[in-house]
């Protein structure tokens, strides 16, 4: 990629040992949560990562924010490899990458006032004096649509949507370059989701933020993403701009995923042909050989079991990992 990449992932892998481990013995099974994931996030844009449960998208999010260490591969922030950063360098790096989590009820310390929670990153990084910190927090609250007068109130006094706004304010406190949003609207009511999505978009254009937006809801993603990556069992199976991925899906899984989304239109629902995938998602502990999707793919052939498909460019800005793309 020759455009300005603010964040880049190269060959990221994360394996979790699992299964019974007796004393002094290695655990026998390994969960291949993320396997050879590479992509680039252009500055000022949103990359959405979609997939179902167990596909590894949350793990990927944590790897990008360096909340967990990769088993292999690297993450580059503005060209610098953050996976090799020392703990001192990491402190500085944390200013540039922030995270917004899914559950607005769980990510705010119930014993701290909202103002305190939002100001926590500033205090940790010691970038401002106390007085300045308060002023900045109030500024942030207004920015995300919260009433600055509520600085001293506690999380339980706010609704889910408001708490999520606080989480976003906290993420913005250090003026990061990248925000990793892990399912930021999934736990909210439909009407509130729209508010938060609008907010995030407004902030992006006014502050030049770049987002990695992790979601399982394809319709949310369509609206907000400049680039979409579809994950299945730890691998990216298709990546490209939303129009290409949604309207000219090349991977059978993407196609099935899109056809499964319930359409809020009774006439459309009847017309659309649904591709129903057979069976369940295989266990990430011992994924199928070759192409991981082959056990549920209606187009699987012998080659799919023998050889793992790599991401190939199908058209400009649209890649797919399939031996027989649609």
């Amino acid at each position: 990629m020759n455009t300005d990449l603010v964040l880049e992932a190269r060959g990221l892998r994360k394996y979790f040992p699992t299964g019974a481990s007796k004393m002094l013995q290695r655990p026998t099974d390994v969960v291949q949560a993320v396997d050879e994931v590479s992509f680039g996030l252009r500055r000022g844009t949103t990359l959405a990562i979609v997939g179902e449960s167990g596909c590894g998208k949350s793990t990927l999010g944590r790897l990008l924010a360096r909340l967990i260490e990769p088993t292999a591969g690297s993450v580059l922030l503005d060209g610098k490899d953050i996976t090799k950063a020392s703990s001192r360098e990491l402190l500085a790096l944390r200013r540039d990458i922030q995270v917004v989590f899914q559950d607005p009820y769980a990510c705010l310390n119930p014993r701290h006032s909202i103002g305190q929670s939002i100001g926590t990153p500033i205090r940790i990084q010691k970038t401002l004096s106390r007085a300045d910190e308060k002023a900045r927090v109030r500024e942030l609250m207004a920015l995300v649509g919260l009433n600055p007068e509520h600085y001293n109130r506690f999380p339980h006094e706010f609704s889910g949507g408001q708490r999520q706004r606080a989480g976003i304010a906290r993420a913005l406190a250090l003026q990061p370059k990248v925000i990793i949003a892990d399912e930021p609207v999934s736990a909210l009511d439909v009407s509130i989701q729209a508010q938060i999505l609008n907010l995030m978009e407004d902030l992006q254009s006014s502050m030049g933020l770049s987002y990695v937006f992790i979601a399982h809801d394809l319709s949310v993603v369509r609206h907000i993403a400049d680039q979409v990556a579809v994950m299945y069992l730890g691998k990216i199976v298709e990546i490209g701009d939303p129009t290409a991925v949604y309207e000219r899906s090349a991977h059978p899984y993407t196609k099935a995923l899109l056809s499964a989304v319930p359409v809020a239109d009774p006439k459309g629902a009847g017309e659309r042909k649904r591709i129903v995938l057979s069976g369940d998602v295989p266990s990430p502990v011992n994924p199928p050989s070759g192409c991981r999707f082959r056990t549920r793919c209606p187009k699987a052939e012998a080659r799919c079991a023998a050889e793992e498909p790599l991401l190939i460019e199908r058209e400009a800005g649209h890649q797919v990992a399939c031996h027989f793309p649609l």
């Binding site: 179902e52 439909v190 399982h216 394809l218 369509r222 899109l258 056809s259 319930p262 809020a264 998602v281």
Partner: protein, 334 residues
């Protein structure tokens, strides 16, 4: 005779902070074999309404009034034993989270068998096992002979939901109440389960009451929709009308704020401003008026008088706006 007739249902929970008026004046009918959706966000009262049908509302201080007539018999005035005989046989319920709905200590076969045995006390162990095996097969669980003796934690989420559905249908209920049956599931599994519910309904002829907040799910399999807000039914219409010609500002707001696969990049969503009201301190008059774009146009009537459900076109709506305005709500782009 109408299969189910709910008349003026009111459910209030007493809490230390005050009375939570979860359901107010809800009335509706269900005909045999119908599929009806009750749509609403959190706090709308849809789950409480569903629970009331089987008298599953528990709490220290619960006050229910109104009538729930199942084929003429009022569920709310039945004795404990009578209600128990209705539960799981005339009306059965599917819960939202399949991971926690099944008893982790007993095998799946035993739990399905139990659902049958409760209402057929004379059944032998062999019969129960046969029934369990048949149920598993019907809902598409592979290798039923092996699976029937397994425990819930050995199944995936989608399969567990199938088992829950199997359990609910084992006594051929007249009404199947599905409380957010797909919310906790992945999208592809969601599709499977919805199809399964539709299939089972066709086979058994049961009516289905589907509780959900997902408008997409509603469009998939329902015929009729009731929209609830802050404990009241604000609109009741056929599914086509609900989407094409909504007759309540809240429904319109919901439709506009729902992103769809067709929403293009940077096309602005139109969220409903504000947040759902507290059920303890409800707004006066119409509960939606603080967030309604049209509340000001009626000279204060919205804040003083709660609108009743009335016929508007071929739907029913609880709004003070005149019919012509309601029918033209979606005016312009749809």
């Amino acid at each position: 005779m109408t299969l189910l007739s709910v008349r003026d249902l009111n459910v209030t929970f007493g809490t230390p902070e005050g009375d939570v008026r979860a359901v107010q004046g809800v009335s509706f009918d269900i005909e045999p074999g119908e599929t009806v959706a009750i749509v609403g966000e959190s706090g709308s009262g849809k789950s409480v309404t569903a629970n009331s049908l089987l008298r599953l509302n528990f709490g220290a201080d619960v006050r229910i009034s109104g009538e729930i007539l199942l084929e003429g018999r009022d569920v709310l005035t039945m004795t404990e034993d009578e209600v128990r005989s209705v539960r799981g046989s005339d009306m059965a319920m599917i819960f939202q989270d399949p991971l926690t709905a099944l008893n982790p200590f007993y095998t799946v076969g035993r739990q399905i068998g139990e659902a049958y045995a409760i209402h057929h006390p004379g059944a032998t162990k062999k019969e129960l096992r046969e029934i369990a095996l048949n149920s598993l097969e019907k809902v598409g669980i592979p290798e039923p002979l092996k699976r029937v003796d397994q425990y819930p934690h050995e199944f995936s989420g989608g399969m567990r939901q199938r088992i829950v559905i199997a359990m609910a249908l084992v006594n051929n209920p007249k009404i199947l109440i599905a409380d957010e049956p797909t919310t906790a599931l992945d999208v592809t599994v969601q599709a499977q389960i919805l199809e399964l519910i539709a299939e089972m309904q066709a086979q058994h002829g049961s009516a289905v009451i589907l509780i959900t907040h997902d408008l997409g799910v509603v469009a998939e399999i329902t015929e009729r929709v009731m929209v609830m807000y802050a404990g009241r039914v604000v609109e009741s219409a056929s599914v086509e009308n609900t989407f094409a010609v909504p007759t309540h500002p809240y429904t319109r707001g919901l439709l506009k704020s729902v992103k769809s696969l067709d929403t293009a990049r940077h096309e602005r969503l139109e969220p409903i401003p504000g947040t759902p009201p507290s059920l303890i301190k409800l707004p006066s008059g119409c509960p939606f008026h603080p967030r309604c774009a049209f509340a000001d146009s009626l000279g204060g009537r919205c804040s003083s008088e709660a609108p009743e459900l009335r016929i508007v076109g071929s739907s029913r709506s609880a709004c003070h706006l005149p019919d012509e305005r309601l029918l033209g709500l979606m005016g312009g782009a749809s």
